[in-house]
């Protein structure tokens, strides 16, 4: 009945092999969890994944109508500009909100099964990213149909922008997921914050409008415009995605005045902002992981 004793070194090498297999298994677990969320969300609905497009498209339609006809926004192909920023921010807000309830929402699992808990907030973020992956092609299609040809050099900015988006969303999502276990207010707080945060980014209004508002109307020094982007990684992500897809920095409005729609016409501005945003995101990610790892031992108890 007693098994032959396994020797020490044998066990050590087994341990190493397992550690290597571990990270692969985590990825597989993550993909399984994201798949589960997607399946559960669209289970039994006739349109299925179409719903993940319907929500932002309807929102887009409403904003478009209001801003074009009520606020008389007359930038050409304003809907492409609008959609670019909207999709980027929606991915962020959904990712963070989803992550914030990921641990609490899976209480049954956390209390009964031992698995790397970090995959829970990651699955919340992953879910939002899969949606973004479905929505971006629609954005590209609409842009091409509208005659906006984005297949130029600035389009390459999309890649670093998405990297920053993923890192920043993951960092914030991980942090709020851990905090929400102890303070259930966190998820409500996150929802409220996202409502406000949406308006802090140049999504509906022109990024150029921010510059004129800060320097001309308020009379603040020029560096406040830089600070606006450097302190808010999402403003950087949103403005870079707009630059990658929309591309025309200036337009002439119906009064013949030249208006600045995008944040900047060059590359250096965006690359600098992205570098700072990435650094901030990595710092936050480090902090979030530390917090999560420190708090996770008590999750099962606090749920």
């Amino acid at each position: 009945m007693v098994a032959p004793a396994s020797t020490g070194p044998d066990r050590a090498s087994l341990g190493r092999a397992r550690a290597q297999a571990q990270s692969r298994i985590r990825w597989e677990l993550l993909s399984q969890l994201v798949r589960k969320d997607l399946k559960v969300k669209y289970q039994g609905s006739v349109l299925g994944f179409v719903w993940s497009l319907a929500n932002p498209l309807f929102l887009l339609g409403i904003y478009y109508v209001i801003f074009t006809y009520v606020f008389a926004q007359d930038a050409p192909d304003y809907h492409v500009y609008l959609m670019a920023g909207l999709l980027a921010f929606t991915a962020f807000s959904q990712g963070v909100s989803g992550a914030s309830v990921s641990v609490v929402g899976n209480a049954g699992l956390v209390k009964k099964v031992r698995f790397p808990l970090l995959v829970l907030p990651l699955s919340g973020v992953g879910f939002a990213l899969v949606q973004l992956g479905l929505q971006l092609p629609v954005l590209f299609l609409i842009a091409l149909l509208s005659g906006v040809n984005f297949l130029h050099l600035p389009f390459l900015l999309l890649l670093p922008a998405l990297v920053v988006l993923v890192v920043f969303t993951t960092a914030l999502g991980t942090l709020v997921a851990a905090l929400n276990v102890r303070y259930r207010d966190t998820s409500h707080f996150v929802e409220l914050t996202m409502l406000i945060w949406f308006w802090l980014n140049p999504i509906l209004y022109a990024a150029g409008y921010v510059q004129s508002a800060l320097t001309d109307r308020l009379g603040w020094p020029d560096w406040t415009y830089d600070a606006y982007f450097l302190l808010n990684p999402m403003a950087t992500v949103v403005s870079t995605v707009q630059r990658a897809v929309y591309q025309d920095t200036y337009y002439v409005d119906r009064n013949g005045a030249t208006q600045q729609l995008l944040a900047d016409g060059g590359y250096a501005f965006y690359l600098r902002n992205l570098a700072v945003a990435l650094a901030l995101s990595c710092l936050l990610l480090w902090l979030a992981r530390r917090t999560f790892n420190r708090m996770q031992a008590d999750f099962a108890e606090e749920l």
């Binding site: 009945m1 007693v2 399946k39 699992l109 099964v113 031992r114 303070y183 259930r184």
Partner: protein, 404 residues
């Protein structure tokens, strides 16, 4: 037979304590934390207190105890789900904890999807699940329903599927809470057969159960937990006996309470040894001489009785196997003081673990003055065949025609 070998430890828990705080109102909302501060009324509850458990490779350990004794908490601490308040836990090898069947199941997903999800949670790579899937499917007996959402399963079908995933994950250490045999009788039998397969493969199993028969039939060791402490750790039969004593189910209903202590005498120790008065020894073979030294104190008082000393060797289930007593005329004198009583006995041809009960009676009346039971087991190993008694026998085989 069940003997405690010394295999390499797989689970080592040292001085593990677990404290729960039951807040009268838990500050899960920031508002409360700010309003009440940290000093809200909290009640401490120690679910585990200084628990030392070392489980060796290949052992099957039954964790038993009354409700609320801390068994499940201990299992969760060993599984790494709960962090111990004090002490440390080490686990070597891949561990699978089965604290609830189908804990990771999602009703909306099909059986197949749940198999993949659940196995991933238990640490299996997709390719491994692909390989194991046919076996899981066959064991679960759900082949025709595997693509239905599990919310449409009956509870029996549900646990069958969950159980088959769990046992096919192939861990080194299996921690199970109360779910060893599920489903109808046929399936429950299959579960037990699978567990035996695990044992033969040298896997370590630690399970919580209230089914005491399962402990005696399946386990190599029993641990009794009560009020957060380990009360007994050793032979499963004695573990069951100890628990029944705690639960008060060790005597038939209506049987009189045994007299624990009328007064006068205290039995301090009973030490079995290979030499008279030598160090404690827990292991004997048939024919050895077992020296049992009792340390009995006659307490000073208005009347000190003389005492007859009786020793009962008890086997599994507290069945008396044989007894010894002080001969006529050599009782403990009716004087206060401390006495050593040495018994020497030639060990009979027995198999298994035994414990001793010591009783002091008043010589004239035979009324018990004091009684005490010592739970440290004395192991006797005589033969290979199962049974309490090793009986020498001769066997002859004849051709049937020659007999008739």
């Amino acid at each position: 037979m069940t003997t405690p070998a010394t295999p390499p430890p797989v689970i080592v828990a040292r001085g593990v304590s677990k404290k729960f705080l039951t807040h009268t109102s838990k500050a899960t909302q920031l508002k409360e934390r700010f309003v009440k501060g940290r000093g809200g009324a909290t009640v401490e509850f120690w679910a585990l207190r200084d628990v030392d458990v070392v489980v060796g490779e290949g052992e099957t350990v039954g964790l038993i105890g009354p409700n609320g004794a801390g068994k499940s908490t201990l299992l969760k601490v060993l599984a790494g789900i709960l962090r111990p308040t004090a002490g440390e836990v080490e686990v070597h090898g891949r561990i699978a904890s089965l604290l609830e069947l189908g804990a990771g199941f999602n009703g909306e997903l099909s059986g197949r999807e749940n198999v993949y999800l659940n196995a991933a949670l238990l640490g299996l790579a997709r390719r491994e699940v692909d390989r194991l899937f046919p076996a899981i499917l066959e064991f679960s007996e759900q082949a025709d329903r595997i693509d239905d959402p599990v919310k449409h399963y009956s509870s029996g079908e549900y646990v069958k599927l969950a159980f088959s995933i769990a046992v096919h994950v192939d861990p080194d250490v299996l921690l199970v809470d109360e779910v060893l045999a599920v489903g109808d009788e046929a399936f429950a039998r299959k579960c037990l057969a699978k567990i035996e397969e695990f044992q033969q493969a040298g896997k370590t199993i630690l399970f919580v159960t209230h089914s005491l028969d399962l402990v005696t039939s399946l386990c190599t060791r029993g641990i009794v937990v009560d009020r957060g402490r380990v009360q007994y750790d050793g032979d499963p039969a004695f573990a069951v006996g100890t628990l029944r004593k705690i639960l008060g189910t060790d005597r038939p209903v209506g049987a009189p309470e045994p007299v624990a202590q009328i007064g006068g005498h205290v039995v301090h120790a009973a030490v079995a040894s290979a030499t008279p008065g030598g160090p404690r020894s827990g292991r004997f073979s048939a024919g050895d001489t077992l020296h049992l030294r009792l340390d009995i104190e006659a307490l000073p008082g208005p009347t000190v009785h003389a005492g007859d000393v009786k020793v009962v060797f008890m086997g599994a289930g507290d069945i008396p196997v044989f007894s010894l007593r002080t001969p006529e005329g050599s009782s403990l004198p009716p004087r206060a003081g401390r006495y050593c009583v040495d018994f020497a006995v030639e060990v009979p041809r027995l198999n298994g673990a035994f414990i001793v009960g010591v009783q002091v009676d008043e010589p004239g009346t035979g009324l018990p003055i004091t009684a005490r039971r010592f739970d440290s087991a004395i192991w006797v190993e005589t033969g290979e065949l199962p049974g309490l008694l090793d009986v020498p026998a001769t066997v002859e085989i004849h051709s049937a025609e020659a007999v008739s």
